[in-house]
C-alpha cells in the first residue's frame, strides 16, 4: 500500500530531489552555482508531480471501473486503469491547436497581403546561424542556370559566339584579377568570381540576396519549374522509346535470323525419309566438314524425333467375356438410372452435359418444402394461357367441344429460332464420344467396318453416289437427287451422304451434316405424305438414320421435329400419314418417358388433343384415332403416366361402334353421339384382322371392307385397353378409370350387340372384361385411405428472443436491419453534433480569452505610456516648479536683500 495521498506526495517530492535532508552551506552554494539549470529541472519535476497527483486531470468512470465481463473486447492501456480520459491534456492540446490555427486566423483577420518567410531554416531552432548560412550557400550554388545570357552566371559555358566562333577569352589565366580584388583571400573561389564578374550583386542588399537564396533552396522539389518537369518527362519518354526501338530491332534481327534458318528446320521436319543421294550430293559438295555437320544435324534430328515421340502407354487389358458383359450391364444400368431420373423430372447434372444448368425446374420447386411466394405461379410453366379474348360464343361457335376453332385462328407461326452454330458445334462435340460407341460405329460403317445390312445396298448404288455433287442442304436438293431412285435405294443414298460428308473428313462437314439431318426429317415427312408412300422398311431405315444423326446433332434434329409439330398444330385434328410417321419417329428417337422434353412434351400434347377433341365422323377417323391411341400408349409405356384423353377415346370408340346404343350412362367420359350409319351391324361373318396403318388414309371402298376395318378398330381398341389396364393397374384411381370400360364391355357382350359382332371379337371382349374384373377386385383390396400429409410440422413463429453466444452490451441487437442502421446513424449524428457544438463553444471561449488578453496588453501598454507621459510631464513641471520656486525664493531673497 502506498499510503495516503500526502505521504505519496512527500515520497515523490523527495525522489525528485525537490525536498530533501538539510543541506550544508557548501552544498547549497554548489547548487546555487548551476542555479538556472536547476530551477528549470525543478519546475519540470514539480509539473510532472502535480500532474500525477491531480485527481481531476483524469476522467474516471463515476461508479468505478466496469467489470471485465461486461465487454468481450480486451481492455488495454488507460482503460485498464479505469481512466477514460485526460481532460487536462485534452484541454492543453486543444488550446495549442487553437493557438496554431484559430489564433493565426484571428490575427490575420481583416488583413491582406504580407510576407511569407520561406528562408531556409528560418524556423528551425536547432540550426546555428553558421549552419544556416552554409546551407543557404549550397542551395545557391545548386540553383539552375536559367539562361545562357545570364550575366550572373559564373560559368561561361560556350559563351557568346560570333560566326560560330566563341567570343570568350581564350583563358582566364591570362588576366588574373583574383589576387588583386580578393582582399580576404577568398574562402570560396566562386565568391571571388562573383566579385570579378559583376559588382552589381555586391551592391544588392544582403537580406534580399538571402531571400532569393532561400527561395531556391527552401523546398528543392517544388522549385522545379513546370517547363523543367516537362522537359524531364519528355527526355525520359524519348529514352524509353529509344530503348524499345532498340529492343525491337534486336528482335527483328533475331527473327530474320530464324527465318533464314527456317528452311533448314523445315527440311528437318518434313523430309524425314530424305533420299540418300541428296545427302551424298551434299557430302560431295562439301567434303570438308560435312561429316561433323552431318553428325550434328543427325543428332538434332534424332533429338527432335525423340521429343516428338509419343510415350508408350500401357494398353488396355483385354477383358474377359464376363467382364465385357458386366461392363455392358453397368452401362445399361447407368442409362436406365438416368432415364428414371429424367422420368421423375429431376434435373440431371451430368459431368459433361449441364453442370451449370442447375436451374430448379418447376417440379423441384414444388417439391421443396416451399414458402411459396406470390409470384411462384409462373413456375408451373403453363404459359400465358388464352389471352383475354372473346369466348367462343361471342365468335359464334357453338359446338360444345372446347376451344379448337378459335385457337387455331390464333395459332402463331413458327416460334422457333435457329440456334447459333457455335452451340451446335459444341453440342456435337459433346456427343462425339457418343458417336464412337460401338453400336453407332457399326451403323456408321465409315470406311472400314461395313455393316452387312448396309454394305449390300451400298454396292448397288455405287454408281449413283458419284452423282452426289454436294451435300443436300434443302429438301429440294435431296428430292432432285432422289427423284429417280427406287424406294429401296434411298437408305443407301442417305448412308453415302453420311459417309462422304463425315465430320472427320472436313471441318465444314459438321454444319453440312447438321442441315442434312434437318432435311432428312423433312424428307421423311415428305416421303410418307406422297400418294404412294414407300414401304415401311425404307421409312424405318430413314428414321434410324435420323436417330443416329440425332446423336450427333440433337439440337438440329429436335428443332426440325419441333417445327414439324408446330405445323401439325394447325391441322391437329386431321393428320396425314406423314404426321403419324413423324410422331412415331419422335417416339422412337427421343425418350418418351422424360418428364420434360422439348420434343416429346408438345408431341404428346398434340396426340392427346386429337384424342380429346376429335369426334370421329367416319371409319377412317376411327382408325386414325386408334392409331393415335396406340401412339399415346407407346409414349407412356415406360413412364406409365395417365392420359385421360386416351381413356375417353377408347370408351367412345367402344360405345359408338357398338351395334346398339348403351341403355344408360356408362361413366363420366363425355359420350359423343355417333354419326348415323357408323355403328357396326351384321358383322358376324367378318373376320377379325389386325388393323393396317394404311387404313388411316385410305377410304374404304365397299361396305364389307368398311365393316372389317371397324371390327379391326374395335379389336385393336380392346387390345389397347388391355395394355393400358396393365399400365394403370397400380394407379390409385384404377377403379374409377376402368369401371366404365367394364360397363362398356358388358354392353358389347350382351345380347343385342353380341348377335351382330364376330364371335372372336366377343370372345376377346369377354376375356378382357374378366381380366379387368379381377384387376378391379385386386385394386379394391389394395385401396387404402390417403395419407399424403405426413410432413414435418411447420414451425410456429417464436416470440422468444434469440440468444446471443457472444453478447456484447455495447452493441445493439436489433433484428430489424434498417432500423438498426438508422439508429446507428442517428447516434453518430448526435455525437458529431455535440462534438461540433463543444468545439465551437471552446473556440468562442478561446477567442474571448485571446481578445481579452490583447485588450489587456493594449491597456497595459497604454497605461504604461500614460504613466510615463504623466511622469515626464510631472517631472518637467516639477523642475519648472522648482525653478519657479527657486526663482521665487531667489527674488524673495533678492527683495529681502534689496
Amino acid at each position: 500500500m502506498p499510503g495516503s495521498q500526502l505521504k505519496r506526495l512527500k515520497a515523490s517530492l523527495r525522489e525528485q530531489g525537490v525536498i530533501g535532508p538539510q543541506q550544508s552551506k557548501k552544498q547549497r552554494r554548489k547548487v546555487a552555482q548551476n542555479g538556472k539549470v536547476n530551477t528549470n529541472k525543478r519546475a519540470a519535476a514539480l509539473e510532472s508531480i502535480r500532474e500525477e497527483f491531480n485527481p481531476f486531470d483524469f476522467k474516471h468512470n463515476a461508479r468505478g471501473p466496469k467489470f471485465q465481463v461486461t465487454s468481450n473486447r480486451p481492455v488495454l492501456g488507460d482503460a485498464a486503469k479505469g481512466i477514460t480520459g485526460r481532460p487536462g491534456d485534452a484541454k492543453a492540446m486543444g488550446e495549442e491547436r487553437r493557438r496554431q490555427t484559430l489564433l493565426v486566423e484571428m490575427n490575420r483577420r481583416n488583413k491582406t497581403g504580407g510576407i511569407r518567410d520561406q528562408r531556409f531554416g528560418e524556423n528551425d531552432a536547432s540550426m546555428t546561424y553558421e549552419e544556416k548560412m552554409a546551407q543557404r550557400f549550397v542551395r545557391e550554388k545548386q540553383s539552375h542556370k536559367t539562361s545562357i545570357f545570364d550575366l550572373e552566371d559564373d560559368e561561361p559555358m560556350d559563351g557568346l559566339t560570333h560566326m560560330g566562333k566563341s567570343l570568350s577569352f581564350p583563358d582566364r589565366d591570362d588576366f588574373e584579377e583574383t589576387d588583386l580584388l580578393d582582399p580576404e583571400g577568398s574562402d570560396s573561389g566562386d565568391e571571388s568570381v562573383d566579385n570579378q564578374r559583376g559588382l552589381k550583386r555586391l551592391r544588392e542588399p544582403d537580406d534580399m540576396e538571402d531571400q532569393v537564396e532561400e527561395n531556391v533552396e527552401g523546398e528543392p522539389e517544388k522549385k522545379k519549374t513546370k517547363q523543367e518537369i516537362y522537359k524531364e518527362i519528355i527526355a525520359k519518354s524519348k529514352m524509353y522509346k529509344a530503348e524499345r526501338q532498340a529492343q525491337k530491332d534486336a528482335d527483328e534481327d533475331l527473327r530474320e535470323e530464324l527465318d533464314e534458318e527456317l528452311s533448314d528446320i523445315q527440311a528437318l521436319l518434313f523430309t524425314k525419309p530424305k533420299p540418300l543421294s541428296n545427302e551424298d550430293d551434299e557430302s560431295t559438295s562439301k567434303p570438308g566438314d560435312s561429316g561433323r555437320d552431318k553428325m550434328e544435324r543427325d543428332y538434332d534430328l534424332r533429338l527432335r524425333q525423340l521429343a516428338m515421340d509419343r510415350r508408350a502407354k500401357p494398353s488396355d487389358r483385354t477383358l474377359t467375356e464376363e467382364e465385357i458383359a458386366r461392363r455392358d450391364v453397368e452401362k445399361l444400368k447407368e442409362l436406365e438410372d438416368k432415364r428414371q431420373r429424367r422420368m421423375r423430372g429431376e434435373e440431371i447434372s451430368d459431368s459433361e452435359d449441364d453442370k451449370e444448368q442447375n436451374v430448379p425446374d418447376a417440379q423441384s420447386a414444388a417439391e421443396s418444402p416451399g414458402w411459396f411466394d406470390e409470384d411462384e405461379e409462373e413456375d408451373f410453366k403453363l404459359g400465358t394461357g388464352i389471352r383475354t379474348r372473346p369466348t367462343a360464343t361471342d365468335l359464334g361457335f357453338d359446338d360444345e367441344d372446347d376451344f379448337i376453332v378459335e385457337d387455331d385462328l390464333l395459332a402463331s407461326g413458327s416460334d422457333l429460332e435457329p440456334i447459333e452454330s457455335g452451340d451446335e458445334d459444341s453440342s456435337a462435340e459433346d456427343n462425339e464420344d457418343d458417336q464412337d460407341d460401338e453400336f453407332t460405329k457399326g451403323l456408321l460403317s465409315e470406311m472400314e467396318a461395313h455393316d452387312s445390312a448396309f454394305s449390300k445396298e451400298g454396292d448397288i448404288t455405287k454408281n449413283e453416289t458419284s452423282e452426289i455433287s454436294s451435300c443436300p442442304e434443302t429438301l429440294e436438293q435431296l428430292l432432285n437427287i432422289s427423284c429417280n431412285l427406287l424406294p429401296e435405294q434411298i437408305p443407301p443414298l442417305v448412308q453415302k451422304v453420311r459417309i462422304l460428308y463425315h465430320p472427320k473428313l472436313a471441318s465444314e462437314n459438321k454444319t453440312k451434316l447438321a442441315s442434312f439431318s434437318r432435311v432428312l426429317v423433312q424428307y421423311l415427312f415428305h416421303l410418307s405424305n406422297t400418294p404412294n408412300p414407300p414401304p415401311f422398311a425404307t421409312l424405318e431405315s430413314v428414321i434410324r438414320h435420323i436417330h443416329s444423326l440425332a446423336k450427333s446433332f440433337p439440337i438440329d434434329v429436335s428443332e426440325e421435329f419441333r417445327s414439324r409439330i408446330n405445323d401439325l398444330t394447325s391441322r391437329c385434328l386431321s393428320p396425314t400419314l406423314g404426321d403419324l410417321v413423324i410422331l412415331i419417329a419422335i417416339g422412337t428417337i427421343f425418350p418418351p418417358s422424360d418428364a420434360f422434353h422439348p420434343v416429346i412434351t408438345p408431341a404428346m400434347l398434340l396426340i392427346a388433343r386429337y384424342l380429346g377433341q376429335k369426334i370421329p365422323k367416319s371409319t377412317t377417323d376411327f382408325v386414325q384415332g386408334v392409331f393415335m391411341s396406340s401412339l399415346a400408349l407407346h409414349y407412356l409405356k415406360l413412364s406409365q403416366r395417365f392420359c385421360p384423353e386416351f381413356m375417353n377415346f377408347c370408351l367412345n370408340t367402344l360405345t359408338s361402334l357398338a351395334p346398339t346404343k348403351p341403355g344408360k350412362k356408362l361413366g363420366n367420359f363425355p359420350q359423343h353421339e355417333p354419326v348415323s350409319g357408323i355403328r357396326i351391324t351384321d358383322a358376324t361373318e367378318i373376320e377379325v384382322r389386325r388393323s393396317k396403318v394404311t387404313d388411316c388414309i385410305v377410304i374404304p371402298k365397299s361396305g364389307k371392307e368398311d365393316l372389317s376395318i371397324k371390327i379391326s378398330v374395335l379389336d385393336t381398341t380392346l387390345q389397347l385397353l388391355d395394355t393400358a389396364s396393365q399400365f394403370y393397374a397400380g394407379k390409385p384411381s384404377f377403379i374409377e378409370s376402368f369401371e366404365p370400360v367394364v360397363l362398356a364391355l358388358d354392353h358389347l357382350t350382351k345380347g343385342s350387340c353380341k348377335s351382330q359382332l364376330p364371335a372372336v371379337l366377343v370372345g376377346h371382349a369377354v376375356q378382357l372384361q374378366k381380366r379387368l374384373q379381377t384387376m378391379l377386385a385386386v385394386s379394391k383390396l389394395a385401396r387404402r385411405p390417403l395419407e399424403l400429409h405426413h410432413h414435418r410440422p411447420l414451425a410456429i413463429k417464436t416470440a422468444i428472443p434469440k440468444f446471443e453466444d457472444q453478447f456484447d452490451p455495447d452493441r445493439h441487437y436489433d433484428a430489424d436491419k434498417d432500423r438498426a442502421e438508422l439508429a446507428k446513424l442517428k447516434a453518430e449524428h448526435k455525437k458529431e453534433r455535440k462534438g461540433a457544438m463543444r468545439e465551437l463553444r471552446k473556440d468562442a471561449n478561446f477567442m474571448a480569452r485571446e481578445k481579452l488578453r490583447i485588450k489587456k496588453q493594449k491597456d497595459a501598454a497604454y497605461e504604461k505610456k500614460y504613466k510615463r507621459l504623466v511622469a515626464e510631464i510631472q517631472g518637467e513641471e516639477g523642475r519648472e516648479a522648482n525653478a519657479y520656486d527657486r526663482e521665487k525664493q531667489a527674488r524673495k531673497r533678492a527683495a529681502k536683500r534689496g
Binding site: 423430372g345 444448368q357 418447376a362 414444388a366 418444402p369 416451399g370 411459396f372 405461379e377 410453366k381 404459359g383 394461357g385 388464352i386 369466348t391 360464343t393 360444345e400 372446347d402 376451344f403 385457337d407 422457333l416 453400336f439 415401311f536 422398311a537 424405318e540 434410324r544 440433337p554 439440337i555 429436335s558 428443332e559 419417329a585 425418350p591 422434353h597 408438345p602 404428346m604 398434340l606 392427346a608 388433343r609 380429346g612 396406340s630 413412364s639 403416366r641 395417365f642 385421360p644 381413356m647 361413366g667 363420366n668 363425355p670 388393323s691 393396317k692 385393336t716 387390345q719 379394391k780 383390396l781 385401396r783 387404402r784 385411405p785 390417403l786 395419407e787 399424403l788 400429409h789 411447420l794
Partner: protein, 542 residues
Amino acid sequence: MPSTVDETSLKRKRAKAPENPSKRTKAESSDEEEDRQAEILLLEDEILKSKKNYNNITVLLGLAKDEDDPETAVFATVSVCRVFLRLLASGSLSRKAGQSERETVVIQWLKGRLSDFKKHLLLLLGDEDSASTALTLSMRLLKAETQIAGDKGESTFPKVFLKEIVGVLISNRFEDIQEEFCEKYLGEYADVRLYAFQALSDILSNRHASSIEDDLFDSVFDMLSFFDRVPESNEELGSLYVDLPKKKSDIVLSLHQQKKHCQSAWLALLKTNSNRQQRKRLLEIMAESIAPWFIQPELLMDFLTDSYNAGGSLSLIALSGVFYLIQSRNLDYPSFYQKLYSLLDCEILHSKHRSKFLRLLDTFLSSTHLPAALVASFIKRLTRLCLNAPPSAIVAVIPWVYNLFKRHPLCTFMVHRVIRDQEVKVAIENQGMNDPFDEKEEDPMQTKAIDSCLWEVVQLQSHYHPNVATIAKIISEQFTKQWYNMEDFLDHSYNSLVEAELSKSVKKPPVVEFMIPKRIFLPNDPASGAEDNLFVKLWEFE
C-alpha cells in the same frame, strides 16, 4: 318555341320545294316528269291557298298510290305529307268549340284522308326500297299529329300511330331500317322510346301463335337489346320528340316509367315460347342488359329458373342470371347448391363455358360458412370428372381444390386420413377401403364425399403433361401458400399449352434415346430376342 321552329323549317322546305323540279329538269330533261311534278306542286299550292281545294288531296293521294310511276309517287307522297304538316300546324284538323257543322264535316273528311295517308305510309314502310323515306315521313307526321288537340285542347302522343309503325317495323326484318329507327329515334328520344316499349309489349302480348317466328324474335330482340346500358338518372334519358304538356312529359321523362315499360316489353318477349337457341341469346345478355332494366327482377325468376332447370348448357348460361338475382334481389333459390351440384356432369369440363362456370362456382363456394360436407362433395365430384378431363380443365380444378381446402380445413381429411380405430384399420387392411362417395346421390350433403379420399388427384399426379402433374402435386405438398389466384389457371387450352411448350427455345441439346432400335415398323427376327414395340404388335405395316 319548337313549333315556330318547325314552322320556319316547313316554310324553308316549301321555299325549296319549287326549286327541286327545275333542277331536275336541267339534269334529266324529262319534260313529262317535270310537268307532273309541276302539276303536283300546283295542286299542293292550291290546297294550301283555299279550303275549297281540299279535294286535291284525294288527287294527290291517288298519285301517291300510283305504282306505275314510283318516282312521281314518292314525290306525291312527300307533297301530301307537306300538305298535312301544314294543315296540322295551322290547326285545321283540330276540333274547336263553336264550329259549324260544315266545318266539322270538313275536319272529319280531312281526318279520313289523313288515316288513308297513314295507311299508305305504313304500306311503304313494309317495302324495303322506300322504307327509309317512309320512316322519316311517318315520324315527321307523328310529330305533327301531336298538334291535334283533344277535346280539352290538350295534346297527346299519337300512340296508335307509333304502335302501327313499330308493328310494321318488327314484322319485316329490314335490319338497316330497324337500326336507323333505333339510332335516330329510340336512342335519342325518351317519349318515342317509352311508347315504343309500350307498343312492343302490346304487340307481343296480343299474339296468339304458340311459338314466335325467328324474324320477329330477332327484330324485337335487336330493338330491345339496342340499349346495352341502362340509363341511371332522368338526365340520361334523352330529350322529347314531340311537345307534350308538362304533366305528361314528366311521366315520359321519369326513369321509373321507362324502366317499367321496358320491363314489360322484355317480359312479353320472355313469355313467348322461345326455342332453345333464342333462350340462349336471351340468357347471354341477361345479367348485363336485361336484368338492370327490371324494377322487379323477381319477374325474371320464372324464366331464369325454367332455363336453369332445363339442364345442359342452358343451365350453365342461366347460372349467371340466377346469380344476379341472388346477389341483387336476395333471391332465395331453393336447393340452389343441389342444382349447382347437378350441373357437374361429364360435359362440364369439356364445355366452352368451363372457365366462366368455374369462375362462378368459385364465387358460390367462396363462403367459409358452407358445410364442409357440401364442399367436399363438390371437390370430390370435380376431381372425379378430372379423370376424364382435358389438361386445361385439370389445371384449373386443382388450384381451386387447394383454395377450398384452405378455406375448409375439415375437407383436408380427404387427402390425409389416418385411421385410429383398430378394428376399422384391420378391416381396411383385409378388404381394402371402399370409396364411400355415392356418385348417384343428388344432394351434395348426402354424398359422403367427406369420408372419401381424393385418389383421383394422386392419379393425376402422374398425368402425361408434366406441368399438370406438377400442379396436381400441390395437393400433397405442405399447404404453405395462402391461396392460388384462380385467374392464372382458368384460361388455358390445348393450343395455349402447346404454344407454351413450343415457344421455349431449345438451349441445351435434348436427350436422344441411346439405343437405336433395330426395327420400328417391322417385326423383329424371332431369333434376336428383342421385343417388338407396341405398333408392331397392334398394327400391320406393309
